[in-house]
């Protein structure tokens, strides 16, 4: 995987997620009623209780939708053009969809493709997930 933009791992809503990525684990928020949700928000979108913890979900999923990007405003990604960004449906209960860069040949991309997560250390101590065919 080529360069990926470095996130701010101290952002209060996402710090725990990035801490999980550093250990190569995918964590999602959990509320007191055990609802998992994505993306991370302070409050559960189903029951409006404050999210209080994080749960690891499997680093596997299938490709729900995608785009192949041929032009980008993000300079860091220009050398990677064209590249695939997917909407990956993770096998959690209920299924959660997460946006992720996919290391797939644009010619081979198709709905339902099985994917596994991998992590790219973009800076010492900061890892960003991306996805590969299973």
């Amino acid at each position: 995987m080529k360069s990926q933009q470095v996130p701010d791992t101290s952002h209060p809503d996402f710090a725990a997620f990035w801490a999980g990525c550093r250990e190569h684990r995918l964590l999602v928020p959990r509320c007191p009623n055990n609802h998992l949700s994505w993306p991370p928000r302070p409050v559960c979108p189903r029951c409006f209780e404050w999210n209080q913890g994080w749960t690891e979900v499997p680093g596997r999923g299938s490709l729900y939708s995608w785009t192949v990007i041929y032009r980008t405003r993000l300079q860091l990604y220009v050398p990677s053009l064209p590249y695939v960004v997917g909407m990956i449906e993770i096998s959690a209960a209920p299924p959660l969809r997460i946006v992720g860069r996919c290391e797939i040949d644009p010619a081979a991309v198709r709905a339902g493709l099985d994917l596994v997560v991998a992590f790219h250390e973009v800076r010492p101590g900061v890892s960003v997930p991306f996805w590969r065919p299973a």
């Binding site: 939708s65 785009t67 032009r71 960004v85």
Partner: protein, 379 residues
């Protein structure tokens, strides 16, 4: 009887060479004059789009300083939603004649990169999406479109039908940025890829210019034959309104909620519409909104466009000015202006014969949406 009394527009192009204040003044004065009003009679102002504020409008249009005002959220929902805010100013007695105006140097100055920084949910954009290389509306909406292709078999050729209809109408409209540049199906398919499945001609223009309307509590003079009644306006938001990944219905958008409400308020339905001005930031968004607004069945937007229904002479002509795709990106203000021309019978070569009702939609950032239903003074 609230309605649109006047419309005004500048030229549209890539390099206006003018300030926003100059563009605002021209469109505003033009709309006020078209309404048969004097600037002193304007008592409400709504600046649209996030580029200008009330103070940028007042002096140039020669308005009183003590106007009521409201500020819609930026994004493509703002034009139609301004009608809703204008109705609130009029209905509460704060104003009788509301100037709604948008101006931008969207091509030569504040391009899309700047505008998306104004939208909600920035923490998701910068922290979760940019690190995945996903950063622009064309890339966000391509994701919705691609799944529609998987679920319903929508094709690139059906997206082409949307673009070809817009370019066809634009050839009849000297104001359109793509006037004099007809599009062929072969050229559509041969164009550069932007974010698959979107190619160049699936994307709207970037435009310099201004457009304004006057929303009034009633016709102020004359016989009222140019006063276009606003039967209903409604706005809505989808589930998860600041990002789109986990909606329980992937196709849920603001219009899914606004359209039924607008039809109920107006006492008419989709079958009563003689034409539609659909917010066409990209081609698939037209198909998506045609479905959600009830003009065709869910999943059938592609075949509906391919049938010729939305083009010249079709059963539901869509964006007879050329839309954002081919006239220019006036954030949907140009859709309202075109609806008014159609309902007054002033649409020239693209006039929809006997047009009585037209629906106008808005679509912004993560799919917040709106619908206005306008009625002809001739009906």
């Amino acid at each position: 009887m609230t309605g649109i009394a006047g419309v005004g527009q500048t030229q549209y192009g890539r390099r206006s060479g003018r300030s926003l204040q100059s563009l605002v003044a021209e469109a505003s004065r033009s709309a006020i004059a078209d309404a048969g009003l004097r600037p002193a009679q304007i008592d409400g102002v709504i600046p649209v789009g996030g580029y200008i504020y009330v103070e940028d409008v007042l002096a140039g249009a020669g308005l009183p300083l003590q106007v009521a005002d409201a500020l819609p959220a930026p994004g493509g929902n703002a034009a139609v939603d301004s009608l809703r805010l204008g109705c609130a100013l009029i209905g509460s007695g704060q104003a009788a004649n509301v100037l709604i105006v948008l101006a931008k140097n969207g091509s030569s100055a504040s391009r899309i990169d700047d505008r998306i920084k104004l939208l909600p949910g920035q923490q998701f954009r910068t922290q979760l999406e940019w690190p995945q290389g996903w950063s622009a509306p064309v890339e966000w909406y391509a994701m919705i479109c691609r799944r529609h292709m998987v679920d319903f078999g929508t094709t690139k050729d059906q997206l082409a039908d949307v673009s070809l209809a817009a370019y066809s109408f634009a050839q009849q409209n000297p104001r359109a940025m793509q006037h004099g540049r007809p599009l062929t199906r072969a050229a559509y398919h041969a164009a550069p890829m932007i974010a698959d499945p979107y190619q160049l001609y699936d994307c709207c223009q970037e435009t310099d210019g201004a457009a304004a309307i006057v929303l009034s509590a009633g016709p102020s003079g004359g016989d009222g034959t140019r006063f276009v009644e606003l039967l209903a306006v409604a706005a809505g938001r989808p589930q998860s309104p600041d990002e789109l990944s986990n909606r329980s219905d992937w196709y849920d958008i603001g219009l899914s909620h606004a359209a039924p409400f607008a039809y109920e308020q107006a006492g008419v339905g989709p079958a009563d519409m003689d034409g539609a001005m659909i917010y066409d930031c990209f081609t698939f968004e037209v198909l998506h909104q045609l479905e959600v607004a009830g003009f065709c069945e869910k999943g059938k937007g592609g075949p509906f466009a391919a049938s010729g229904a939305i083009g010249p002479g079709g059963s539901l002509p869509v964006n007879t000015h050329g839309g954002l795709l081919a006239e220019g990106h006036m954030t949907g203000m140009n859709h309202l202006a075109e609806a008014v021309r159609q309902l007054r019978g002033e649409a020239g070569p693209v006039q929809i014969e006997g047009a009585r009702h037209i629906a106008v939609t808005g679509w912004g950032d993560w799919g917040d949406g709106s619908m206005a239903i306008l009625r002809s003074p001739r009906s």
